[in-house]
Symmetry: C2
Subunit: 272 residues, 2 copies
Amino acid sequence: MGVMSTAAFFGRFTIDRQAPVPAYYQLQDWLMQQIDSGDLGAGASVPSERQFSEHLRISRMTVRQALDRLQRDGRLIRQQGTGTFVGRAHLVGDMSQLRGVSSELADQGRSSRTLVLGVELATPPRPVAAGLGLDPEIDAIRVRRVRSVDGEPLSFETSWLHPERCRPVLGTDLVDRSLNEVLTAQCGLDLAQGHERITATALDSYEADQLAASPGTAAFRVQRTTWDGAGRPIEVVVSVIRGDRFSFEAVLGSRDNAAARYHTPTLSAVGQ
Amino acid sequence: MGVMSTAAFFGRFTIDRQAPVPAYYQLQDWLMQQIDSGDLGAGASVPSERQFSEHLRISRMTVRQALDRLQRDGRLIRQQGTGTFVGRAHLVGDMSQLRGVSSELADQGRSSRTLVLGVELATPPRPVAAGLGLDPEIDAIRVRRVRSVDGEPLSFETSWLHPERCRPVLGTDLVDRSLNEVLTAQCGLDLAQGHERITATALDSYEADQLAASPGTAAFRVQRTTWDGAGRPIEVVVSVIRGDRFSFEAVLGSRDNAAARYHTPTLSAVGQ
């Protein structure tokens, strides 16, 4: 990246030395805006540490501190000897969407793969049994899967299914199939409503292993309960999703007109 | 926690030694279900490492591995010499909600405080200028705040406001006030619609400092753009929210009836 393009890269951005916010954080925040908005698209190269340091008159240590977090969250990829590049655009899921990720993806022509780790009857944790409306001594169907999108592992999912309503799942090959589709087509269920809770976490060593990521990578843990049109519980699903590859989006309305402004779900790559 | 209550604590839970999923992960997942559902409420004590180890016939190292992540995410608090307890219930925000967190909280009688770090005209990053519909050489109003709920810092927020539409903000004391309320009452704006993007991250050292948390704590980064009823951009806000204290919730509908099932937003403590 030459001198001219460095100037263009920075535009009006300078470090505010009077600000209560440290220099590294100002730079990090500014870069994140450029990347998340797609102004700096996937694969774009960013200036070298030296260029950052000279242009902004900050130490290289300050530059490194700013870049470290962006690398940790997958927004920047440092390649030894080549430079630093913007990482792949995140996949984006609509938070208000009940359809499974794979069905969202299929609609958009993205390639989605499913690795099935196990399908069996097992003892659900008490809250899961309660969520499914089962007596605590009744086993439920447990499905453990790793979902990949465009060849990259994205989520590790444990689904607990109602043992009667979802029984056909036990005899169905789930590899590369949407579980929602099986529930609809094979089990004749109408997945009408759901409740979702999203927490922030970091991949632990087992999840990282399953998702081909580094332990400690930022992640979402999503717990969803789904009911049919009659309000009968169908499934309780826990998904651990790589935060360096995925974001949630939502369209918001004010209290009174939220419903009216509700929009059609999308899952798409952003940036670029 | 005595022998009897330990048996009651575990109920039917056992470690499945044939499972592809490691023992520590099975235990961690099971505990997380008990805590997130509120079955184990805030302050509840959990068995000792020795009790876990003896009851489940796993090594104490395996127990520690399971508990570590739960501690890191704030679900368990280990107190030297006293034992291990369930952490405070998460605050829960509705993801589809356009109102600010503080106005959601106020409606529920929660105490919300706002520390104002700075209010000034500043150069917005290009994508923020674009989001606000401003020429790149125009300054915007930048408001940096730390929001606390029930005495505990929860989020670090940087709001970029349209310099004309929001000008009265420059002369307004924002301490312990909702910015949305100021925009509505003082600036006469109608915050009608928004777009929100949520990414997973971990607090870096500066954010951790502001939020009285440990660096590396799981966190959400939320970027929201708000428009008035005429579609004119009002603000671009970036909030970094502690993931050990906060979760998002959403009610989901299937594609066809999402709007009909849209529900009233809530922000409440769960668990206990």
